[in-house]
Symmetry: C2
Subunit: 310 residues, 2 copies
């Protein structure tokens, strides 16, 4: 297997792109493909102030590296969730993220969830009914709250996350299994800040396979946390990823075409423009000010205000 | 595992319905569930003349049996495709279908494809470019042509097929992977005869698992052809069924909820009503009179008229 650009030994073969590349040309190629997505979906410009959510994993750290190489100015946001039983997941990912930023002279915001809200995310999860059933859901709500809060407070134009193609297709697969119109029609590479109190969001890695991101981090020598979050075992997302990995193995390129065909069909007007009944009730949370469709406080603040009642 | 109705030993456990039943109560229950689908999707009435396409397999023969028990008057249509290499698939399925009809005094139309069109379906497939790539596609076009032709000529009100839930979810899965609007929005338990020259079509088994149909045929003592069509090995449909079987095994009921949630979302107006550009060009095939969107002759007739050119 030879590099298509120079004929040297290839380090990666991307069957869906019919493209094999050597280390040097792969490290060149991936950022240009990320730039293609940024342009295609009109994500952000080099003049805008970008906040990138970094977890210490291969996707977000590699994306931070790539944005810098492409000439975008992005500051980082690390949220210390307090997942520290057993493998010291949060402590290690914070160490790697801080080291990455320091080595490159990048600005990093660090929010320690327990310092800020009085409990770690696992503590919050195990205390609330919702968290007992779905810890990932509580963690997601918490991270979205903090990301939005910091982006608005610090005046960033856009919030960027490291969701890759495997993440996006797992979400899309879940949404098509359930056919919940609100979820199915809303998924996109860019989420506009249509609602007051929210920041615009973008996912520049949405067309890039997880395997390609791992290869980039490895070849670029980025130190990242290899372990998955210990709470993710047995999650829906991991299950759907397994199914899609089988599909991809048998039919290379199916994951990418599943996602792209969805975006294309949506752009061509597949879905009806429906009045979302939920959005009629939208208002600012009386506690934090972020928009919510819940009757009173937002889902995040409610997890704390019910504490007294338990 | 005990029958929920009588407490005797159950022969089947339907986890998605949380229902276990003994032989007697299962044979009672399945027809009432088919009747539920017929009513729910307003498929046909006891006053209408029904033509059921029968292949000699468990689904269509069991459905014919069930329709009779429910008091519907349905005649059969068997199409002899001429798939007779190796296991004598067509000869054996015709023998079983004729035996089924004779034993019950039911009327059966038999169309021998080679007698009617000068070639068997495998011969037609191997002669045409489309058939070399996709024999199942040529076979599907051929069967639809004959079913429509016989239903119209004989004045039936509705054409019924034995597609079960596994068939429907495999089609839905394929359509969601590809996101082709025309296919994705059109799938339904009933296809109306909106176009002149077509017959109304219905699938009364659309909510019933393949496994449930096999159990019914077995317990009812219906003799059917066990073999799959020898050309179906390696087909897309079989592949998608494998994936969905894994999903169903891990998450009982997911196949049924995938299908029902899709129908519900569609009924709730998920999809935009799009002008189908294909339908603008629709006209009667100058050869057979059936509607087509092809420039001149329909896809079926074209397979024969190109014969001279090859």
């Amino acid at each position: 297997m030879k590099c298509r650009k120079c004929g040297e030994k290839a380090v990666i073969n991307m069957r869906h792109h019919k493209l094999s590349l050597c280390q040097e040309h792969y490290l060149d190629w991936l950022p240009t493909y990320v730039e293609y997505s940024i342009q295609k979906y009109e994500m952000f410009t080099r003049q805008q102030r970008i906040l990138i959510a970094v977890s210490g994993g291969k996707d977000s750290l590699s994306l931070w590296d790539i944005l810098g190489r492409l000439g975008y100015s992005a500051d980082g946001l690390y949220i210390g969730l307090g997942i520290d039983e057993g493998i010291q997941y949060s402590a290690e990912s914070e160490r790697l993220t801080r080291m990455f930023a320091e080595q490159r002279g990048l600005r990093l915001h660090v929010v320690n969830f327990r310092d800020e809200f009085g409990e770690s995310v696992p503590e919050l999860s195990s205390r609330t009914r919702r968290g007992k059933d779905k810890p990932c859901s509580v963690c997601g709500t918490s991270k979205r709250h903090v990301m939005n809060q910091v982006a608005l407070k610090e005046g960033y134009d856009i919030l960027v996350t490291g969701h890759n193609l495997d993440d996006e297709t797992a979400t899309l697969f879940s949404n098509t299994l359930n056919w919940i119109p609100g979820y199915l029609t809303r998924q996109a590479p860019v989420l506009d800040n249509d609602l007051p109190g929210t920041v615009r969001k973008a996912k520049p890695l949405c067309r890039i396979y997880e395997r390609e991101m791992a290869a980039y981090a490895l070849l670029r020598g980025i130190e990242y946390i290899y372990e998955e979050c210990p709470f993710s075992a047995g999650s829906n997302t991991i299950y759907y990823k397994e199914i899609l990995n089988k599909l991809e193995k048998d039919r290379p390129g199916d994951k990418l075409s599943f996602y792209i065909a969805y975006l294309q069909a949506k752009e061509n007007g597949l879905f009806a423009h429906q009045a979302d009944p939920e959005l009629e009730n939208i208002h600012a949370c009386p506690n934090c000010g972020q928009p919510t469709t819940a009757p009173d406080e937002c889902a995040f603040c409610r997890m704390f205000s019910v504490k007294e009642k338990l």
